[in-house]
Symmetry: C2
Subunit: 369 residues, 2 copies
């Protein structure tokens, strides 16, 4: 069970150490027979290159690290997916670490990746990287995802404020008079969504707006609780439009309202934010604004490649990606016909078509709107 090393292969194949190394890294330099002989020996012995030694001797490897705050969040997965595909396209590997909502862990994995001679590192940070001036000085390209700050560096973010604005405009278009925003703006992204909503509504002082904190974690249960509370209000204090700051929240709200006998969208309309698959994969689609996670991951890798190829020191570089991946033509409330609703398969088709980056902002039109 002792590890087979390159010198074992060399001895066994009757060639020198450097030749085996060449077989691995510059096969075109070898005579075909030699190459074949070496490859056979490698397979016979079960030799596996020691990546650590490779990296140490040869500098950076072709791989990127990605630190995500959670894995069970659809948006993060879209980022991972986009980053993965783009990385593979350039011949790079992508390794993912889960920071598990813990900023100590986030920092830990970040340093780990930087120390592993990764060619580049990406993070979807929990807090502003302003707190991390140290990272910017590291000799490894780094790109921050889904965040926006004023430190020098590379950033790719969805336009969260625009998402709020879109939802608000939708509410206005639907003739809303009283809007309730559900959720705790625990993260900058959510704060920006709320900001966008407020800005859009500033032009409509006649529309009443209320923001209800849903509890620390913005769970479906929190949404359900708020939904139940809304349902029990007297009809004239009840909103006619509810915005979940996340789709999970919105989904909880819908459940509660329906349970309590409130008609959705008859009496109250509900929409969410996040583009969470549960919104459109569920058996009843929920309207949601979809931030282009896939696109963000892709752009992130592109920025990494840019830094690697130019070897230029990082300047401030912000990229803002439009807020829609999947689009459906907006229709008036009266036109909504359940048969014509956005269906998973339609969405899938739309998402394929729109997978090239777009700045268009649009929404899925679900059954609760």
């Amino acid at each position: 069970m002792a590890k087979v090393k390159i010198s074992d292969v060399a001895r066994e194949a009757g060639v020198s150490l450097g030749t085996v190394s060449n077989a691995l890294n510059h096969p075109e330099k070898l005579r075909p027979e030699t190459l074949k002989l070496i490859n056979e020996t490698i397979n016979r012995l079960g030799y596996l290159p020691n990546q650590s030694a490779r990296q140490l001797a040869g500098g950076a490897t072709k791989s990127f690290g990605l630190v995500l705050p959670r894995l069970d969040h659809g948006f993060s997965l879209q980022i991972a997916s986009g980053a993965h595909n783009e990385a593979r396209k350039h011949g790079y590997d992508l390794l993912i670490a889960n920071a598990d909502n813990d900023d100590i862990l986030e920092d830990h994995y970040l340093r780990y990746f930087m120390g592993t001679q990764m060619s580049g590192v990406m993070v979807q940070p929990m807090a502003s990287p302003d707190w991390h001036p140290a990272m910017a000085k590291m000799p490894v390209p780094i790109v921050y995802l889904d965040i926006h700050c004023s430190e020098p560096g590379y950033y790719v973010a969805a336009d969260n404020e625009a998402q709020g604005r879109i939802i608000a405009e939708l509410a206005i278009a639907r003739g809303a008079h009283h809007i309730v925003v559900v959720g705790r703006a625990a993260f900058m992204q959510l704060t920006l969504r709320v900001l966008g909503i407020h800005k859009a509504l500033a032009l409509h002082p006649d529309i009443k707006i209320e923001v209800i904190d849903a509890g620390e974690w913005n769970t479906a249960a929190d949404g359900y609780g708020i939904g139940a509370q809304i349902a029990e209000r007297p009809a004239d204090e009840r909103p006619d439009f509810v915005v979940g700051l996340t789709d999970v929240l919105a989904s909880g709200v819908v459940s509660a309202l329906v349970d309590k006998g409130i008609s959705v969208p008859g009496q109250v309309r509900v929409a969410g934010c996040d583009g969470n698959p549960l919104a459109w994969s569920g058996s009843v689609p929920l309207t949601t604004v979809a931030p282009p996670g896939y696109e963000i991951g892709r752009k992130g890798v592109q920025l990494l490649m840019e830094q690697i190829e130019n070897k230029a020191p990082a300047k401030i570089k912000h990229i803002r990606v439009g807020s829609a991946a999947r689009t459906v033509t907006a229709v008036a409330a009266e036109d909504i016909n359940r048969q014509e609703l956005v269906r998973p398969f339609l969405l899938e088709r739309a998402s394929t078509q729109a997978s090239s980056q777009t700045d268009a902002t649009a929404i899925n039109l679900g059954a609760y709107l």
Copy 2:
């Protein structure tokens, strides 16, 4: 931007190379003043240990690798989550690679991890590891997840056959006469589910069973297509019970049936498999059998630890984890009351309680059953 190395820190701090190394790895060996001096120097210079060199010099690091076939599959994420938590508990890092449904990539990352001096590697393989005898010979502990085969090695799997059996028994309990199973048994896991269904129904020759292939990827769109086709059958050829081999499929089926004016669960009952969050986070819960992904990840790491600590060569070791994470007392169809239905917040509570491993097999009871 030149990389700071340990010798720079040593020179700057006026101590020797080995002392700095000790500061990092055996701080208890140093005089507190020395330690403090070195730590300050490290921070001032922004020194970051080169992980490659560390691993090369010091042998394996405390980290595990996990190769998953996809990231957007809830079950894989549960595995990742369980593995992550268990790994952290033992002080190990967990790095995740996405094989993107590509067996070449799967193999690639597997080798990569093994070559990186990982302390152990886990895979949720796409095909049977029988094809990978080479892996078993590697000097790195490996555990296969969510699969079952006869080669020597360590395996942790959910009891997929039991899942099929449970669903079938549920159908029987509901008085089903004609069952349609929707989905392509493209993976061993799905095959086993079908097998379980058939076995359970073998005792009930009066129940008609039909298996309908849903297309290559088992998407919601595929489910929708089959659902639509079912809806258009004459009433006497229509099943009274549909099983989606995955929740995504089942969800598509429900959408189609409802769209076509078939009452669910009035005319047709529908259930899924996977314990996919979309089943219970959606605004209308879907009945599903939940394989304990979290538990599988946890057990996987435990098996890794076992191998590391005993340093014993891998013998055959199968662990089968029961098929329920979240349980709800089953009630008769007539008792279903939408107000009392399983709600996300109930589920969340239940899942917390049941997070300790259990072999009990049970299901969520959704609105479509």
